[in-house]
Every structure is written in structure tokens, then in C-alpha cells.
């Protein structure tokens, strides 16, 4: 699996301001990779371009071993006409019923399956949304703040479980939580504002696969490297 970008430029139509300028990077292999950077730096724009890059052949994005790309984000909603449990039943392929149950347990959503989406807390809504993506066919799943409003302990448990259950899939995790990104992700693409004319770069993360004692010096070094990259 390889995701490569060679000199991507992007500006919204009728705007002269570049959102992404001359972006070069490559990410290899399955696992959790991250896109990090301050607000407004183009993370979501990049994620949307990547999710639809096959419809725009002019974009300098190449992939190998990656078929289906899905993009999930934290403002998504499920329709309100039936319970969230019924929605999950409808969108879950027949051969993934066990996986669905396991994910519901890990994401701690069992007690709210009978509720409508609008009745859930924001954290529950984001977890529910993520589950339905994980039940689909995908090779690369982009998680744009998909675990926002979830408490840290549960978020860590979810990240580790997803890494274990979907070890053969590629994830692109967009988050503003530097420690989480540094600790659980493999490659961290640090985006910088085009106006600063500082090239975006890849920083290697710690890529933890289990909750262990923090290797603080190593984590500090990664976080410092990320912070100094923008």
C-alpha cells in the first residue's frame, strides 16, 4: 500500500489564495498515518481531494494497493427516522455481523442502540458514525476529527482496537491532539500554511499498538519535531 503526492497545488474556484501549495510526500503500508497542522492549513481540503482524486485525473496523487477510499468527518449525521441500531443493521453487510457487535462493545454504544441519532451526545454520535464506516469495504479510511468529543481514555482504547482489528487497512487520521497523533500514528504529515513558504514534511510517530508506559523522551522528541515543522 502506498499513497504518494507529488507537487499538489489547490485553490478553491474563484479564489486566488492557495490552500495547498507544492505538497510532496509518500506514505507506505497499512496502519495509522496522520495529517497534522494548525486550523485552516488545508487538512480537510486535502482529505476531500484525496477521497475524490480519481474523479480529478489532473491531481498529482498516486496510490498503489489502495482501491476504495472513504472519508468520514465529525459533523456527519445518521437519518433521524429510526434508531441508530436499526441503521447499523441496514448498512452492515451480512458477513460482518460479528464485527459489528465487537465494534459496538469496544465503542461502548450498546446502551444507545435503541435511540435516535439526535438523542445521542456528540461523542456518541461521532463513535456511531465511525462504526458504520468501519463496517464498509475500504482500503483507506480518512478520519477527519472522527473521534472528536470522545473522552481520552475511550479514544485511546478505540484507536488501539481499530489498529488491531484493521491492521491490513490504511488510515489517515486528522486530529488536533498532538500527543495522540505522536503516540499512535506511524507517519505524520505536517501541513504548513502556503504563505509561510515552509515545505510540509513527514515526521515519524511512535506508532504504539498497546497502552504501555509512556516513553516520554521519545514522545517529547516527536512532538517537538512536529511543532517545529510548522
Amino acid at each position: 500500500m502506498r499513497l504518494e503526492c507529488s507537487g499538489l497545488n489547490f485553490a478553491y474556484p474563484e479564489s486566488e489564495t492557495m490552500v495547498i501549495q507544492d505538497l510532496w510526500f509518500a506514505m507506505d503500508g497499512p496502519g495509522f498515518h496522520a495529517v497534522f497542522g494548525p486550523s485552516g492549513v488545508g487538512k480537510t481540503s486535502f482529505a476531500k481531494l484525496l477521497a475524490n482524486y480519481r474523479d480529478r485525473p489532473e491531481l498529482p496523487i498516486q496510490t498503489s494497493g489502495i482501491g476504495t477510499i472513504l472519508y468520514s468527518y465529525n459533523l456527519e449525521r445518521l437519518p433521524g427516522w429510526s434508531s441508530t441500531g436499526r441503521h447499523l443493521d441496514r448498512i452492515c453487510p451480512a458477513d460482518r455481523q460479528d464485527l459489528k457487535k465487537e465494534l459496538i462493545d469496544i465503542f461502548q454504544l450498546g446502551p444507545v442502540l435503541g435511540a435516535r441519532f439526535s438523542q445521542l451526545s456528540m461523542g456518541q454520535q461521532n463513535r456511531m458514525n465511525l462504526i458504520r464506516y468501519l463496517l464498509q469495504d475500504f482500503d483507506l479510511l480518512i478520519l477527519d476529527e472522527s473521534l472528536a468529543n470522545v473522552d481520552e481514555k475511550l479514544r485511546q482504547a478505540i484507536l488501539l482496537a481499530v489498529k488491531e482489528l484493521f491492521s491490513h487497512k490504511m488510515f489517515l487520521y486528522i486530529s488536533h491532539n498532538l500527543m495522540e497523533v505522536a503516540r499512535f500514528c506511524k507517519d505524520i504529515l505536517v501541513l504548513t500554511e502556503p504563505s509561510r513558504e515552509k515545505p510540509s514534511k513527514i515526521v515519524s510517530g511512535q506508532d504504539d499498538t498497546r497502552i504501555s508506559v509512556l516513553e516520554k523522551p521519545s514522545l517529547d522528541r516527536i512532538m517537538l519535531e512536529v511543532m517545529s515543522a510548522f
Partner: protein
């Protein structure tokens, strides 16, 4: 909601009547111009039953006309929701036609179809159709991206699901527009009856007008007001029930 509509109408009607009586008193007008309260009550007792039947006749045409408009508005609205050239053409045509005063076409309908039931029905349907269509088009043409994204990305989106999502996300707007269009349908039917029909409360008002019988007209207006208030109240109650059962906005405490 039903009772609120009725007593709101009662208050407005009473104020209107009081103003008429004050004008009568202030200008010392004769009973021929503005009848006194006793004459109004006497006429009401005499004519209420007949007028009630007439209003129900008008209402039945209005309900049928409204039903046809709702069906057509959703049919065309669903066809016109796409950003294709056909969808754009439907939307532009609808916006242009609704700018024309449809009631001005009524004489043509009476010439072609005569002064019977069909003409009244067609005019009622035409008058409430375009406002309904514009609302339905507005709802159906606006994507609900936060919900639709998943279904599009995973290849699950079908036109039925798209329509369902957009309708349910705009239940409030649609139920309000449908309840509001009841008044338009009733107005359309009454206008048709004024012009040339041979039945309904509009026809009775026309007769009262020729006889300069303001007491009969006031009685007819009271009947129309009460019946339309009840009908709108029922529609709004039904709308609230639908929203409570299906609407996406019904947040609540779960645990």
C-alpha cells in the same frame, strides 16, 4: 393547537364586528349599510345551517384540490431536484409561472369547463400548487450533505433514499407549507365560486352581495373562518404528530 386557532379567529372576528358597529354608530349608518347586532344575530340563526353546508361543500373541493396540488408538487419537485438541465428547466419554469397571477386564468377555465365542480377544483388546485411547488423544489434541490455523504461514498444512494432524507430533514418546513396551503386552496375555491360557480359558500356570498345583505355576508365569513380554523388546526396537529414521531429535531434525554 386546534382550539387556539378557533379562539384566535373568534377574537379577530369579534374585533372586526365591533369596529363595524362602532363605524355604524359613529357615522349614524342605516341597517341597510351596516346591520345592527340584533339583525346580524337573527340572520345568523336563519342562515347558519345552509351556510355551513355551503362551507363544507367548498371545503371538500378545497381539500381535494389541495391533495392534488400536494401530489403534483412532490411529483414535479422530485423530478426537478437534480442539477441536470431538465431539473434546472423545471425550476426556472416553476419560478416564472408562479409570478403570474393564476386567478386571472379562472375565466378561461370557466369558458372551457363550464361552471361546475371541475372548474372549482382546478382553480383551487392551481392557486395552492405553485407556492407548494416552490417549497418542495427548494427542499428537494438542497442536499443534506452531513447525512447524504455516507450513502454517496459507499454507493448506497438511491433516489428514493435521497428524497426521504431531504423530506425528513425538512419536515417542519413541509408540514407548515402544507398547512398554510389549506387557506390558499380555500381562497381559490371561493374565488372560483365568486366568479361563475353554481354551488359553495362563494356562490352564496355572491347572492348576498347582489342583495346587499351584509348580515348574510358576515354570517358566511364567520362560518368560513370557523371551518378553515378547524381544518388548519387539524393539519397542524397532524404535522406536529408526524414531526414528533419521525422528525430529526426531536431531541430528548435518553438516559
Amino acid at each position: 393547537m386546534l382550539f387556539r386557532r378557533i379562539y384566535q379567529f373568534m377574537i379577530v372576528y369579534a374585533v372586526f364586528l365591533a369596529i363595524l358597529l362602532v363605524v355604524k354608530k359613529g357615522l349614524s349608518l342605516s341597517d341597510y349599510v351596516i346591520p345592527g347586532l340584533s339583525l346580524i344575530l337573527e340572520t345568523a340563526v336563519q342562515m347558519s345551517a345552509g351556510f355551513f353546508t355551503d362551507v363544507m361543500d367548498t371545503l371538500s373541493v378545497a381539500i381535494l384540490g389541495q391533495g392534488i396540488s400536494i401530489f403534483l408538487a412532490f411529483f414535479v419537485g422530485i423530478l426537478g431536484r437534480k442539477s441536470s438541465w431538465a431539473g434546472s428547466m423545471i425550476r426556472v419554469t416553476a419560478y416564472n409561472i408562479q409570478a403570474y397571477p393564476i386567478v386571472a386564468l379562472a375565466p378561461i377555465i370557466f369558458i372551457l369547463l363550464g361552471d361546475g365542480f371541475l372548474s372549482r377544483l382546478l382553480i383551487a388546485a392551481m392557486i395552492c400548487y405553485f407556492p407548494l411547488l416552490l417549497s418542495v423544489l427548494g427542499v428537494m434541490a438542497a442536499p443534506v450533505e452531513d447525512i447524504e455523504h455516507f450513502y454517496i461514498a459507499t454507493g448506497r444512494m438511491r433516489w428514493q433514499l435521497e428524497v426521504k432524507i431531504r423530506a425528513f430533514e425538512n419536515l417542519s418546513k413541509l408540514t407548515t407549507v402544507i398547512a398554510g396551503s389549506a387557506t390558499l386552496a380555500m381562497a381559490g375555491t371561493i374565488v372560483a365560486e365568486f366568479i361563475a360557480a353554481n354551488a359553495g359558500i362563494g356562490y352564496s356570498i355572491r347572492i348576498a352581495l347582489y342583495q346587499s345583505d351584509l348580515a348574510a355576508i358576515l354570517t358566511a365569513l364567520f362560518m368560513i373562518g370557523i371551518v378553515i380554523s378547524v381544518y388548519q388546526g387539524i393539519l397542524e396537529t397532524l404535522g406536529e404528530m408526524v414531526k414528533a414521531k419521525w422528525g430529526s429535531e426531536n431531541k430528548g434525554v435518553l438516559l
